[in-house]
Each structure stands twice: as structure tokens, then as C-alpha cells.
Assembly symmetry: C2
Homo-oligomer: 357 residues x 2
């Protein structure tokens, strides 16, 4: 089955597995107090990350996550062949400022909260085609910079509807390559490997923009669920699989309301993912105790949950194969104010446990 | 020379030529009155493109350019395997709304005015790796949506310093693939081919973010020139070439002031591109007669000049090999107001004339 060129498909079966050589996550204080608090590499208590502005805080966080991932792989920045990164801010300034200083060939992305899926997809495509030994994929979001960008000044203390999600302050970064991760000479690196177990990207399904006509920017789960449905359905169709072929199908940040809609939409297509579905937005916060309503969101949400929770579950042997499906809502404050609907997009990557020698 | 994986390089020599199977350009009224006015596929006299807002106007223009390029290649949208597109607006809404309706697997980019270079680079990498037979690369900018996004309300009638550039209203789109463009059954397609002559992307050099500490958003040429210098120098170094190996080295939108800085910076490195340098921002307007000061800018500038002027010169045999180097300035109104410097980036692609049977 040559899926790569096949018309009508949205999927690529990579010619060789692309290993996630290392993964790093940095999260904010609130995320550190949530259910995954013990899993992050670093929790920063200062929401400004020692800087003067929310935007610089986010840039700094993303750069630190990138440096951490590079270091864990036992590499130096100059050994990274190219980086795929993006964020939620206008003109992706969190990515272009932080990582700028590292001098790595740079491809800027915009995929809203699906960015980790987009960057892993493009990074894996590039690695599998031998365009580089080490490729960095990174993204971030910050509660305060996102509120400023999309909603109201924090000082207003606006009430949030129950459908709203809480933008995660966090950044995740992965180094990809076709060689399995290995311990480098110094011995102080922490590649993504447990004994012979590694995690590798083997397949990708590229998302399409799906517009259901929803206009409510405080119900992002509802706006993104149709896109998640489209990508998951297309993925299963392209590979001729059923949900039971996966130990987990993990969407990005639909939250509890978006999850209900996704399950309903897939039911209408006779696909039942109830047994295996999880959502990063629901995993990262205890939404009752932490008052985050529908759940967590933001590019950083799927990224840090992947690096801190999903990948360790693959290494530990709990899961052999998962479908990771970050979801994004395409809107800006300008398009929102102009009454344009919020289209969604979801990029899926298959991550499998691989035994290496 | 295996440039693909080589550490320290920023370049990739593609395994096989990636043909530009078709190219389309749509421009606004002012661009239509400029020196290249006769070359565009379509000139729209109505700056709103029949819509209600500048953003929707830009979306519409980009979608029309994409459809035109797809049609010229004799294809239907469903035959496009994936699209790489982006624009200048916050959250890239011009790209995510217009092209959304076409239902093509979509990768959103943000590379400021370097976006055509970024999309052609990623599109060529994907095509050369056999990830799809037909890959669409598109971008756009619109004078009014860009002024609204970055500067002042048009109604203020602000004076513009002489270092400023005029954002081009225009959109360019190309269909890429490893098969040479051919006339399809219907006979009404207009692939990018003249007899046996075609244009193909053969090499790419990925840009790095270069920050010279400049903070003047009304001197974008100055902010981007160091990045153009970095990419051009790195490209020549990676391939062991001199400027005379190119019939033209064409930067994106440095304008006349940025050009001077670029030539100076390269002189300091003992590289002289004076004989072959051109700049899309200087080609598109008669800056004296059209009062555009330093020249044209915006993602659409390099894109429409490529499609309407550079590619035809390659097909006609005037040029055998050019280096196309769109340049971008990484800023947002937030980062500008916070006093952050404007980093630049430039992505280069080599486009060569190929004779096919």
C-alpha cells in the first residue's frame, strides 16, 4: 500500500520509523498543581519567567524547553539541522524570539493548538526523507499572553462560561531522528529510552480545515471537535483500522464538552472510540478543583502532556501504539470581531513503542 | 556531497528536481499600474474583492490564486495532496479561511514576508520525498489588512517615512511535483511550460533568524537585510559557488534601502552580488511615480513577482538558474510596542531551467 502518493488519502506511512530521541516539558505553577504535576521536567513558579512581559516569558519558556530537549539528547544546538516551531500569538512571536538566538535553520508554523501535531508531522516527514539527523519540534502557550491576545485584559476579572478552557502555560519540545536515541559520551544526557524501549513516529495524517459554522470563541472544544472527527475518521479509513488497533487515541485540547461532541460525531459515522479516547485538556487539570471548566487548551497543552505523560507510558510498555491528535481552532480577535466562524484543524501522528538493539 | 544531513550546512540538494507545474498571480489595482502590470494573471480593481472586510478580501484573493494555479495545472482541488500556505495576519487568517473551503490537507506557515520561500522549500522537500504528486504553495498580502494589522487606520492618512515600503496587494500560488508539467486532456490548462522548457526547484537553503537589534518597523528592509545576507552567504558557502553561478539573485522585499544594506553587508564578507541582484520590492512598483518610497513588501510581493515575472524569464531562456530569496521581518504590533527588536529571516530556493522530453 503506497499511501504516500495515493490520491484521496491524507496519510503518510513513513518509510522508516522516526524516533523521538528526546522530549522536554516546562509548565507553569497551575499546571504543576494538576494531576500531571509530578511528570514535568520543570515547573516555573514565576509566570513571567524572570522577564518583563508575558510574550517574552513565553519565548523564554519555549527556548528553555528546546534547550532542555537538545541537552537530553546529548546534543548541542548547532547539531540540530532544522526546527519546526510555532505558537498562538500574532505573528508567532513566542517562537521567533526565543529560538531565534539559537541560530538553527527555522521553519515557523501556525496551526493554532494543533501546532505540536503539525511540527511533529513535518519534522517526521523531514527526518524520514533524510533531510537531517536531528530535527527539533517545539511549541508553547502561556495563559496570560493568550488571554491578552484573544480575550480580555486579566485585570477585568471576566467571568468565564462553563464551555471555556484554560490556556495551559507550558512548552514541549522533541528532537526527532531516524537513529534510535542513545546515551552520549558525557553520560549525563537523558534520551527518550528505557532499556531497549523507544518511541517512534511511524505514520501521520494531515488535517484539513473543517468549518462547522460555530462562532463561539469561548467554546473552542465545540469548534475543534468536527476537525478531530474528520482527521481520526480519515486516519482509520486510510490505514483500514479500527479504534481497537490503538491503546489510546489522544486528542489535544477538546476538553469535556468537545469530547462529548467528538464522540457523538464519530458515533454518527459508526466509529466508537469511547474505550480508548483521552484528551490532553482533560488530563492536565483537575477541572473541578482547579476551576478550569471544560479543561486545558493552548499549543502547550498537547505538547507538555505528550512529553510528560504520553511518551513515558509508551516507554514503560503500558501502550504499544497511540494516535496523538492535537486540535486547533483557527481564529483571531479580528476574525472573531468580524463574526467569521471558527474553523478547526487536527493533525494526527501515530507513535509506537519500538524495541531497538 | 551529501548536503542533506551535513552538520553546519543549512542547505539541501534535492534528490530529484521538483517542477513548478503551474503558477498563478493575482494583484491589486496599484500593482496593476506598476512595471509588471501586464504580467499578472488577474488584476482586481476592487480592493475588497467583492467582500465586506479587508481580511475576507485577502482570503478570497488567496483562494482564487490557488484555484487558478490548480486549474492551470489541469487539476482539481481534490488532486492536490497537501498545501503549504501562510500570510501576515494574526493567526494567519487569510490562509485558514480562504483555502479552508477546498478541503485539502493543510499545513499553515508563518514566515512573515519570507513565506513564499518557506512554502516552496517545504513543498519541494515534500515532493522530492514522494509525499505527494501535486503540492500547492501559496501566500498573500493585502495593503489594507496589513496596515490594519501592523500600523495605523488608513483613515488617519499617516505620513510614511522614506524608508517605509508599501505592502503589495497580491497573491501567488504554485503547484509543485516531481513530474514535468504537461498539458492535460481538456487542452485548456496552462501548465508552466514553454515547449520543452520547464522551471524546477533543485536546491534549498533554510533561513535562520537573524537579529541585528533594529527596532524600526518602518524600515523593514534594514531589519531583513542581515538575514538575506546570512542566507545568501550560507547558500554560496554550502554549494561552493560564487554569485556569477546565478543569472539572478532575487531577494523578496528589501526595497532600495534594504538592498544597499545587503550589498554592503555582503561586501564585508567579500561577496559581490551587484551584477546579479534584483529585489521583488523594487521590481513591482515604480517607486518615484507610484510614491511607494523604498519599494513593495508583504508576502504577496515576492510571490506575485515570482509567478508573473521570474518564472516566465526562466521559461523564455533568459535565465538558466536563479536564487530566489524571500525575506521576512519577525514582528507583531505587540512586540513592536514592547520595544523588542525586529529579527529577520530569509529562505532561499534555487530555480533552474530544465529541458524535458
Amino acid at each position: 500500500m503506497n499511501l504516500r502518493k495515493q490520491q484521496g488519502t491524507s496519510s503518510i506511512a513513513l518509510e522508516k520509523p522516526v524516533y523521538i530521541q528526546s522530549a522536554a516539558s516546562i509548565a507553569g505553577k497551575k499546571e504543576g498543581e494538576g494531576p500531571l504535576g509530578n511528570c514535568f521536567d520543570m515547573i516555573c513558579e514565576d509566570p513571567l519567567f524572570g522577564t518583563d512581559t508575558w510574550e517574552t516569558a513565553e519565548s523564554t519558556m519555549q527556548k528553555e524547553a528546546a534547550l532542555l530537549a537538545i541537552g537530553k539528547a546529548g546534543l548541542k544546538p548547532e547539531e540540530i539541522r532544522m526546527v519546526f516551531a510555532g505558537d498562538l500569538l500574532a505573528q508567532s512571536i513566542a517562537s521567533s524570539f526565543g529560538i531565534a538566538e539559537m541560530g538553527i535553520p527555522f521553519y515557523g508554523l501556525y496551526g493554532a493548538c494543533s501546532t505540536m501535531g503539525e511540527s511533529l508531522s513535518l519534522g517526521a516527514m523531514a527526518a524520514a526523507a533524510d533531510y537531517g539527523d536531528h530535527i527539533l519540534c517545539a511549541t508553547s502557550s502561556h495563559f496570560a499572553s493568550a488571554e491578552k491576545e484573544f480575550r480580555y485584559p486579566l485585570g477585568y476579572g471576566c467571568q468565564r462560561p462553563l464551555s471555556s478552557t484554560w490556556t495551559v502555560t507550558g512548552s514541549g519540545a522533541c528532537v526527532l531522528g531516524t537513529q534510535p536515541p542513545s546515551f552520549r559520551s558525557e553520560g549525563d544526557s537523558m534520551p527518550l529510552r528505557k532499556g531497549r524501549c523507544c518511541a517512534a513516529i511511524t505514520e501521520i495524517t494531515t488535517g484539513r480545515l473543517v468549518d462547522f459554522g460555530l462562532k463561539d470563541s469561548l467554546n473552542m472544544g465545540g469548534c475543534m471537535a468536527p476537525a478531530a472527527c474528520d482527521t481520526i475518521y480519515q486516519h482509520l479509513f486510510d490505514f483500514g483500522r479500527t479504534p481497537s488497533d490503538y491503546d489510546a487515541i489522544v486528542t489535544g485540547d477538546l476538553g469535556s464538552i468537545g469530547q462529548k461532541i467528538l464522540l457523538d460525531l464519530l458515533s454518527e459515522k459508526n466509529v466508537d472510540i469511547r474505550q480508548v479516547h483521552q484528551d490532553c485538556g482533560m488530563l492536565i487539570f483537575d477541572s473541578q478543583a482547579q476551576d478550569t471548566h471544560s479543561g486545558g487548551s493552548g499549543c502547550g497543552c498537547a505538547a507538555v502532556v505528550l512529553c510528560a505523560h504520553l511518551l513515558p507510558n509508551i516507554l514503560s510498555g503500558k501502550w504499544k501504539r497511540i494516535l496523538f491528535v492535537p486540535t486547533g481552532a483557527m481564529l483571531s480577535k479580528v476574525s472573531f470581531n468580524e463574526g467569521t466562524p471558527v474553523a478547526g484543524i487536527a493533525h494526527a501522528v501515530v507513535i509506537e513503542q519500538k524495541q531497538v538493539s
